[in-house]
Amino acid sequence: MIRENRRLISSSPVAKSTFSLFFLAITLAPQASAYLDPGTGGFLLQILLASVLAVVMYARNSWLRLKQIVRWPGVSGDSEACEHEKARVEEVNEES
């Protein structure tokens, strides 16, 4: 089943990396000198969330990069607009 899924998503590098990230993460708890039981549910939730957010962030950044590239040869003042857009996106990232 896992193999099938992997084949299915192998075309997208983002999804692939996220998918493997999730399974990488599931295997073992962090190897710190921790004395606290992380709890199965809470642990899996964090891994899942990290994977989902990684995809969201990747998609968002790719979209912004694309926008930047597309706008680049346009009319003057675009680079300034890009900087503005970048700052705004950073703000949004921080808020989320």
Partner: protein, 468 residues
């Protein structure tokens, strides 16, 4: 010098109590984190702003520890009022939870995370939360997860949801389990529409479902996955996302006391006229101004009117206990406003907190933590007698044992409050042995009555006693 029993879990150090100061040993294993954290600006800022317990590294070790075993010894101020989360009201636990999350958010900016999220690490100093575990902090590595997430849910979030969403006070459950409330158990109690509300879904429902899925997986999850995959990876976004959604969820939890506080005010004062209240207050004020107690216990404090009065008249610290969590919430709000050394606790005086946890000594009991030199027992004796079923002799023994001086209010048989509590017993044909003469005889056998004052026409009387 006595080892603090609750400090055994952390492998990085131990805590000792000298009676005046607290000493904490820092083991070699914690050296790197200790140095990193102490150099961070956010940590220094939190120390200065009083959110972390003040600390200083001491060169001279007055303890007789084997010095090679640890890397450093730090000295802390000793908080005079220690309490456990199962003794708090809703607002206290909610404030402590938000405080804990904001502490983490502030430190995260400097790459510091907390290795646990125990509610027992938060205490109240002058009714404001303060973080007391100086070894909870560590350098956050890239990809680290929030290690204390499940503990935070069990010790903060789930008890709050139990009170706010399910409508049951968390205290008894929390005290029974000591380590909070399991998500699985809370999940069973939540109504369906709450289970699927977005934030509760994220922090309760989803972890429970994922745990069930992992438990059912055959062969077990660990075996199914290849051994070369060895690292758990989180990311910054998910760490912040968890902390922020948790904070937003907890901030919005409705306080169950809000609906009932009016009723509390009504019942506490309806029995007296304004003049009688003034007389009662004058008597209490005189007692406190004369005895100047270091630590006063207000038994059955309700919303804390007389605790506040005691603090205003010279009591150094006050612990007020009441079994009603709503009354405790109101008292806590007054304590925050007053900013005094006042700790309102949701404790039933007929069932004081005992020592709990590992080996029966991890979390010390109520009487071990406090040494009172004065007690107020206003309009409470008849509740203990009739509701809790404690004989008068026993009540007076307890009250004169717990502090050397105090005020006890006698409520006569024909007082409306006494009658309303007693009606059921008389209807059942039970006899309640209780009158003023007996009260005075029993009290005099253990203490000297220094002063007494009749307050109401029905015969409510205040007795100022000093133990023999």
């Amino acid at each position: 010098m006595r080892k603090v029993r609750g400090s055994f879990r952390d492998p990085d150090g131990e805590v000792f109590d000298s009676g005046h100061l607290i000493y904490r040993t820092v083991n070699q294993s914690a050296r790197k984190d200790f140095e990193y954290v102490r150099s961070a600006d956010s940590f220094k800022h939190l120390l200065l702003s009083g959110k972390l317990i003040p600390e200083k590294t001491v060169d001279h070790v007055p303890l007789g520890f084997a010095e090679s075993a640890h890397y450093a010894v730090i000295e802390h101020e000793r908080l005079s009022l220690i309490s456990w989360p199962y003794e708090w009201g809703f607002r206290q636990l909610r404030d402590a939870a938000i405080f804990h999350l904001e502490l983490q958010l502030e430190l995260l900016g400097d790459g510091i995370s907390l290795k646990d999220s125990s509610a027992f690490n938060v205490q109240f100093k002058k009714a404001v939360p303060i973080f007391i575990d100086a070894l909870s902090f560590k350098k956050k590595e890239q990809g680290d997860l929030w290690e204390g997430y499940t503990q935070f849910c069990e010790e903060f979030l789930n008890p709050l949801l139990l009170a706010s969403v399910v409508g049951l006070p968390f205290n008894q459950w929390y005290r029974g389990a000591v380590r909070g409330l399991d998500s699985d158990l809370l999940y069973r109690m939540l109504p369906l529409r709450k289970k699927i509300s977005p934030r509760i879904f994220l922090h309760v429902t989803l972890p429970v479902i994922l745990k069930k899925m992992a438990d059912r997986a055959r062969p077990p999850l660990e075996k199914r996955l290849s051994s070369r995959m060895r690292e758990a990876r989180g990311n910054e976004e998910s760490y912040y996302f968890l902390l922020r959604t948790m904070r937003n969820l907890i901030r919005k939890l409705e306080d169950p006391a809000q609906k009932e506080s009016r009723w509390i005010e009504y019942t506490s004062d309806c029995i007296y006229t304004d003049e009688q209240i003034a007389q009662k207050k004058a008597f209490v004020s005189e007692f406190v101004a004369t005895t100047k107690p270091h630590l006063l216990l207000d038994v059955g404090s309700n919303t804390g009117t007389y605790s506040k009065l005691a603090l205003e008249n010279g009591a150094v610290s006050v612990v007020s206990v009441d079994g009603d969590p709503c009354a405790v919430d109101v008292a806590y709000s007054s304590a925050r406003e007053l900013g005094a050394s006042w700790l309102p606790l949701c404790v039933d005086v007929a069932n004081l907190t005992s020592s709990l946890g590992w080996a029966g000594e991890e979390r010390s009991g109520f009487l071990e933590r406090f040494e009172f030199d004065a007690v107020l027992a206003l309009a409470v004796v008849h509740h203990l007698l009739l509701t809790a079923g404690i004989p008068l002799k026993e009540i007076l023994r307890f009250l004169t044992d717990i502090a050397s001086e105090g005020i006890i209010e006698f409520v006569p048989r024909d007082d409306p409050m006494f009658m309303s509590l007693c009606d059921r017993r008389t209807a059942m044909g039970q006899k309640v042995t209780y009158d003023k003469e007996l009260f005075e005889t029993l009290l005099s056998s253990r203490a000297t009555i220094l002063k007494s004052k009749k307050i109401t026409d029905t015969g409510r009387t205040l007795y100022w006693f000093r133990r023999n």
